[in-house]
Each structure stands twice: as C-alpha cells, then as structure tokens.
C-alpha cells in the first residue's frame, strides 16, 4: 500500500513537471499560434542552468556556484528566457512549418552543444553533483518526495492561475487576435511581432521552470534528457488535452504520461514471457495507435478551447 502511494507521488511529480511545460507551450501555440518545434531546448536550458548555478564544483566544466536554490531556479528560467529572446528575434517572422523546423533545429543544436562541449556542461556525461534543496532536513526517502511533490504542485497551480489571468486579460485577447488574423490586429495599431516575441519568451521561461524542476528532481541532467522525444511528448500532451485550454493542457500531461508509463507496466506484467523482449517496440506501436486514434476520434483534444472567455465584458 505504502509502495503504491510512494509510486503515485513519484508519478504525479513527473507528470506535474511535464504539465508546467505543457502550459508554457500552450501559451505559445494554444493562445498565440506559434509552432515551437524546439520545446526541449528551453526545457533543457532551464535544467542545465539550474544545476550549473546551484550545484557543487565539478572538474573540467562550468558550474559549482552553489547558489541558493530559488536563485538557481530563477537563473535557469532566465537562461531559457534569454535563449528564447535570441531565437525569437531570429525566427518569429517565419510561419508554421518553417518556424517549427527552424526551432526544431535550435533544439538539435542545443543538444549537440551540450553533448560536445565538455568545458561547458560536462559533455555526454552530463551535469551531476547537485544537492537537492533541504535534503539534509528531509532525508531522501518518501518524506522528501512528498514535500517535493507539494512544492511542484503549488508551482503548477501558480503557473495555471497566472496564465488564466493572462489569457483573460487584454493582452490575452491580443494574442488570440494575432493568432486569428494578424493583419487585422496590426491595423488596429498593435505590433504583432513584439507581442509574439513577448508570448514566446514568457512561454519559454515557463518551459525553463519545468526544466529546472526536472533537473532538481533527478539531481542530474545529461544530453539524453534533451532529445527530440521530449518535444514530441509535450506536444502530444497538449494536442490530446486540448490546445488553447489550460486545464486541457494539464489534463493531457497527466493522461499521456500515465498512458506512456502504464503501457510499459502493463506489458511487463501481462505480456507472455516469450514476448517480453519485444514489449519495447510494442509499446511504441501502442503509443502511436493511441495518438492516431485520438486525432481521428477527437481532434480538438479532450478539453477543447473555450471561446467564451474572451467575451467576458465587465471588469471591475
């Protein structure tokens, strides 16, 4: 029983961290229509930034500044933000597929840099030597996981409330106006490119926050954490949950991550012994079937965007 709870807490922590990332992407895609194909680069910048700033000194690469944890996390978010600013300036005038592939390229280049530049972040070995905050006080067992989960949950709720308010604000309406009809928006005297950039950076900072928490949770990050698979996973969560709807984004994160892990668990438990070795490939087939099936059955996602929000007129 305690085992089940312990696992569920662990699972919910990972899912919550991913949900924060999905919320960041939802601001970019769901609300602003920016096809960010390089999610993992900003997530990774947050993770690497946090661990490098908050970790103990390591031989041969940057790091070991041992910053107070919240500062390190903010530093990771700032790293993601700065990267988003540069990438945004270069690419945001591109549209759809072109923007997607350009940002995807940024993510591949980011992984490449982390893998090869040993002086920067340890190369393929990754960054370790990070002390999880308050570990001395809480140990590293079940109690710690509970405390960490609650922290992540509070951050998730905060990000959710922040985005809900943002989306309902005049700025939020502006984002959707640009998404739907950029020319009309600019004819009203708004500057679409600046607003798009702001949304892109804000979303990326949230992605960086998720990355920072992820790095903290594992006390380790390596180039293997920033492969394109993660971009795909986060996108799948948003699409299945419902783009444009923050609750859908969170729901999608839990659902997809749940399906992803549960299918592995179910196969290991119920598949016959002769088939065990093939379960890895079978799981990928299952994941593919779920995604395709979902898109055929309910393409707007499980919780579609609620368009009524922007029509809320009175504001005290």
């Amino acid at each position: 029983m305690i085992g089940t709870i312990s696992y569920l807490v662990f699972f919910a922590t990972t899912a919550s961290i991913l949900a924060i990332a999905v919320l960041g992407l939802n601001l970019q895609w769901g609300n602003t229509g920016l096809f960010n194909g390089g999610v993992v680069a900003f997530f990774g910048a947050g993770a690497y930034g946090t661990l490098i700033l908050g970790g103990t000194p390591q031989d041969g690469h940057l790091g070991g500044y041992g910053l107070f944890y919240p500062l390190a996390l903010l530093g990771g978010m700032a790293a993601a933000g700065v990267m988003a600013w540069i990438v945004g300036l270069l690419t945001l005038r591109l549209r759809h597929d072109y923007l997607a592939i350009a940002t995807f390229g940024v993510a591949v280049a980011f992984e490449n840099l982390m893998r090869n530049a040993e002086w920067l972040a340890g190369g393929a070995k990754g960054v370790r030597g990070f002390e999880r905050p308050l570990r001395d006080a809480l140990g590293d067992g079940f109690l710690y996981n509970i405390a960490f989960f609650i922290t992540v949950l509070i951050i998730l709720i905060t990000v959710y409330l922040f985005l809900e308010r943002l989306v309902a604000s005049p700025f939020g309406r502006l984002l959707r106006a640009i998404r739907e009809d950029e020319e009309a928006a600019s004819s009203l005297g708004k500057s679409p490119s600046r607003i798009r950039l702001t949304a892109f950076i804000t979303g990326s900072v949230i992605l960086g926050l998720a990355g920072g928490l992820y790095g903290t949770f594992y006390a380790f990050v390596s180039p293997q954490d920033v492969l394109p698979t993660l971009t795909f996973q986060i996108w799948a969560m948003l699409i299945v949950g419902g783009a444009g709807n923050n609750r859908g984004a969170i729901f999608g994160a839990f659902l997809i991550w749940g399906a992803w892990t549960a299918s592995g668990w179910a196969l290991s438990r119920f598949a016959p012994v002769e088939a065990q070795l093939y379960t890895g490939s079978m799981q990928f087939v299952l994941i593919g079937v779920v995604i395709v099936g979902m898109l055929m059955w309910r393409p707007q996602g499980l919780l579609p965007e609620r368009l009524v929000v922007s029509q809320r007129g009175s504001k005290e």
Partner: protein, 304 residues
C-alpha cells in the same frame, strides 16, 4: 574538400528523391508529414524481401550488373517495391490521414503522421529485428578518380545519382507536359477552384501519394544500397529530408531537388570547418540561414 563536395552530391541524390514526395504532399495536403521517411524504410524492406524471393525463384537473376553491387533481382525488387510502397501510402492516407483531415485541423495531421511514423517504424522492427540488413554483403570498392587530391567514387553511387536524375527528369516531364501535371498545380493553388473546373480532387490526392510513395521506395533502396537497411533509417532520414524540403521551399519539386543536394553537400562539407560531433546541427544551421534570407525557402511562395 573536392571529395566532400562529390560525396555531398551523391548523398543529395537520395535526399532529393525523398524530398520530392514530401514537398508534393506538404503542398497539396498542407501538412508536414513526419511519416514520409518511414515510406523509405517500407520501400527498402519491401525490396529486401522481394530481392530474397526473386533470387530464390530465379537464381540466374542474382548476377550483378557490371561493377555495381546491384543485381537484376534487386532491380526487379525495386520495381515491385515502388508499386507496393505507393499503394501503402495511398492505403495509409485512406485509413488514417483522410479521416483526420476531415475532422481535424492542420496540426492534427502533423501529429497523426508522427504517430504513424512510430507505428510503421516499430512494426518493421518487430518483424525484421532491430539489426541492420544489407542487400549485398560484398563491399564495392571505390574507383580512384584522382590521386592528388585523392578523389574516390563508388560505382553504386554513380548509378544512384544517374538513376535519381533520370527519375527526376521523368517527373519533370509529367508535371510540365501532361494534364495531370496541370491538375496537380491547380489543386495546389486552389483546391475548390480546381474542383469547380473539373479536376477530380480525390484522384489527384491519390496520385500524389503514389508518386511520393514510389519515389520514397527508390530513395530507401538507394540509401540501403549505399549504407544499410535498418528499422530506424526513417528516423535518421526524416530530418535531412525535411531540411531539403524547407530549404527548397514547400511545394517546389525543383526546390526539393536542389534542397536535397544543398543539404547533402552541407552535411559533408561541415566537417571541414567543425568538429564531427556537431554534424547533426549542420542541416539546421543551413535552414536558419536560408530562411533568414528567404522566409519561404528558395523556391517557395508565401501563401495564406
């Protein structure tokens, strides 16, 4: 340096073939098809099966064509594989993409294609195993074109290049000289207007898949001939093919051909300036540069 250039052109030949199909699909059906490269795998494995089958049925055909490692049997197998892969592409469209298209929006298609890619790749892995396969275990030695600077070219690669160029020329004739070519362009420009003018939309879409699928099959076999056939080859090739399509500009067949060669050459020249660890980034840096200058690729046009 010259060697890198030549290698780049040779790599570019199969990337181009893959990119042509992708650019047509992206143009007509307006979605980035991430499962396109899996059609290359499908084609390569289909040819592998039929190569073995034809060789078993008619051992005479196992003889090689001159200096090439290509056999008559494999040549047969390529033709069969082209048809099968083209039909598979149509079938996948009917079963999956068509339904998603009717209900969903642009991005649903992108993700459905991602899902399809996972399915196809792993089903191939389940059937054929995860290890690489080869059409011929013999190693075809390179011909020395020049000793100083050292320039080496493999006969297979020359064949691949010539065959790819020939296929591209045939496609050019089809697109520029036949009513089908006009219909295709009309649909790409404006699907509803084209239908009003008597173009059968469903038939055009089918033709696009057939062409894209069969060219992908050839590209897959050519890749396998130069390197190896492995279930993850689609995953490895999808990005260079996308890069070629984007650099060339979505919808432009000639852009795709040029894009394929540019990406091939860039990948091979990259090592001259950068440590080899960074090679995977090169196609993307190239895309960034091209898009900086031309936001819709070299031959692409802006479209709402």
């Amino acid at each position: 340096m010259i060697q890198n250039l030549i290698d780049g052109v040779l790599t570019g030949s199969y990337l181009s073939l893959g990119a042509i199909g992708l650019t047509l699909v992206m143009h007509i059906l307006r979605f980035a098809n991430f499962s396109h490269a899996e059609l290359l795998s499908l084609g390569a494995y289909a040819a592998l099966v039929f190569d073995a089958l034809v060789t078993a049925l008619a051992p005479v055909l196992a003889t090689k064509l001159g200096p090439l490692s290509l056999t008559y049997a494999l040549l047969f197998a390529i033709l069969i594989s082209m048809v099968l892969t083209g039909l598979s592409a149509v079938l996948i469209d009917r079963l999956v993409f068509k339904r998603v298209r009717e209900k969903g929006w642009e991005l649903s298609m992108v993700f459905a294609s991602f899902g399809m890619a996972l399915i196809i790749r792993n089903v191939i892995g389940l059937i054929f195993g995860l290890s690489p396969e080869l059409y011929s275990k013999d190693i075809a030695f390179a011909m020395i074109l020049s000793r100083d600077p050292l320039i080496l070219v493999k006969p297979d690669q020359v064949f691949v290049l010539v065959a790819a160029l020939a296929l591209m020329f045939v496609l050019h004739l089809i697109l520029s000289r036949t009513t089908f070519g006009y219909a295709l362009r009309a649909v790409a420009e404006n699907p509803s207007l084209a239908q009003v003018n008597g173009v059968n939309l469903a038939r055009t879409v089918m033709a696009v898949w057939l062409i894209g699928g069969s060219l992908a099959a050839v590209a897959g076999v050519f890749y396998g001939l130069s390197h190896q056939v492995i279930p993850v080859m689609g995953r490895d090739l999808v990005l260079p093919i996308f890069a070629a399509t984007i650099v060339g500009g979505i919808g432009s067949v000639y852009g795709a051909v040029l894009g394929g060669f540019i990406v091939g050459i860039a990948g091979n020249l990259a090592l001259v300036v950068l440590p080899s660890g960074y090679t995977p980034s090169i196609p993307f840096m190239l895309i960034l540069i091209v898009l900086m200058i031309r936001p819709h690729g070299l031959f692409g046009e802006a479209r709402a």
